[in-house]
């Protein structure tokens, strides 16, 4: 869609579809839940610090699940924590997205073989939209994950039901 100010040659009138406008508003302000589980949380904190600056993508950390759009599952999910994640996900208001960050949240990670208390992938309890691989993923990888999520949001439609 481009920057808004470039559209204003013809007397401050903007013509677009409702879908595009709504999706653009949603993807530019994906508020995240300020929450991290394990090592990937440190990389998530580094991404929100000044060197990589996640806030320029519109991603602001909020403390409560009621006010967020996207949940970054950053770190290993254990069986003790799994029920709490499900409860947090249920508290989010739609439209809500989940970004699974790191190997442990994707598939169990390095603990897949003998981890009796590790949930082998957070998609066993909640539906995931984007998987970011890495152990831990670099901040640039997490930013790419967010951009992929933004592209997914861009293609949504009010009429057609998405997953």
């Amino acid at each position: 869609m481009g920057l808004l100010d470039k559209q204003f040659q013809n007397g401050n009138v903007l013509v677009t579809s409702l879908d595009t406008l709504l999706n653009w508003a949603r993807l530019s302000s994906l508020w995240q839940m300020q929450w991290g589980l394990a090592c990937c949380a440190i990389e998530m904190m580094a991404t929100s610090a000044s060197n990589f600056d996640i806030m320029r993508f519109g991603v602001i950390p909020r403390a409560t699940p009621r006010q967020v759009d996207v949940l970054f599952v950053a770190g290993t999910v254990t069986l003790k924590m799994a029920s709490r994640i499900k409860r947090l996900y249920d508290q989010m208001a739609e439209p809500r997205y989940v970004l699974s960050m790191g190997s442990c949240a994707n598939c169990g990670g390095p603990y897949w073989e003998h981890g009796y208390h590790v949930l082998k992938g957070v998609d066993r309890v909640i539906p995931v939209d984007v998987y970011v691989p890495g152990c831990p993923p670099r901040p640039e990888a997490l930013l790419e994950g967010i951009i992929k999520l933004q592209e997914k949001v861009r293609k949504e439609s009010l009429v057609k039901k998405s997953a």
Binding site: L79, K80, A82, Y116, K120, V125
Partner: protein
């Protein structure tokens, strides 16, 4: 004080409660009867020549021959010496006297040994699971542990 001096001193005071010692290992250890661990611990902490006031580590062990055990690594901040104590008990009756009244740090270490190995510490003020959920079945660090297939509806293995 060397390990040998600690051993002779304990043997003199407690007689049968102190079973044996392996003094030629890299870190010499002394084997104690599990039912009298607390009095031995109190003596080691309070005796002026010993003063083992710092419990560095308390580890549960599964010896894979039908016996469980606990290993205590003690250190004295006053005299700067160390000693290792061990207790062993049968897997069917894994009872060891708790030392949480002697060293405050033993409280959580013993809860962890109970949680992961099933060693029951008598006279512990609050013996319940610490790392695993309260409704977990079994003791994972035992050598004969089998991973459950499902836990609360979630599939556990890969």
């Amino acid at each position: 004080m060397t390990a040998e001096q600690v051993f002779t001193s304990l043997k003199a005071k407690f007689g049968d409660a102190v079973l044996e010692a392996k003094l030629d290992a890299l870190q010499p250890w002394i084997l104690v009867v599990p039912e009298r661990m607390k009095e031995v611990a109190l003596f080691l902490r309070d005796d002026p020549a010993m003063q083992f006031d710092y419990l560095m580590c308390l580890s549960g062990m599964d010896y894979n021959d039908g016996k469980l055990g606990v290993v205590y690594h003690l250190f004295s901040t006053v005299h700067r010496h160390k000693i290792v104590l061990k207790v062993q008990c049968a897997k069917e009756t894994p009872h060891v006297q708790s030392v949480s009244a002697v060293w405050g740090t033993a409280n959580w270490h013993e809860r962890e040994a109970y949680d992961l190995l099933g060693i029951i510490f008598d006279e512990h003020p609050d013996l319940r699971r610490i790392l695993l959920p309260d409704d977990w079945g079994g003791y994972p660090l035992r050598k004969d542990y089998r991973v459950p297939e499902f836990y609360n509806g979630v599939k556990v293995p890969y």
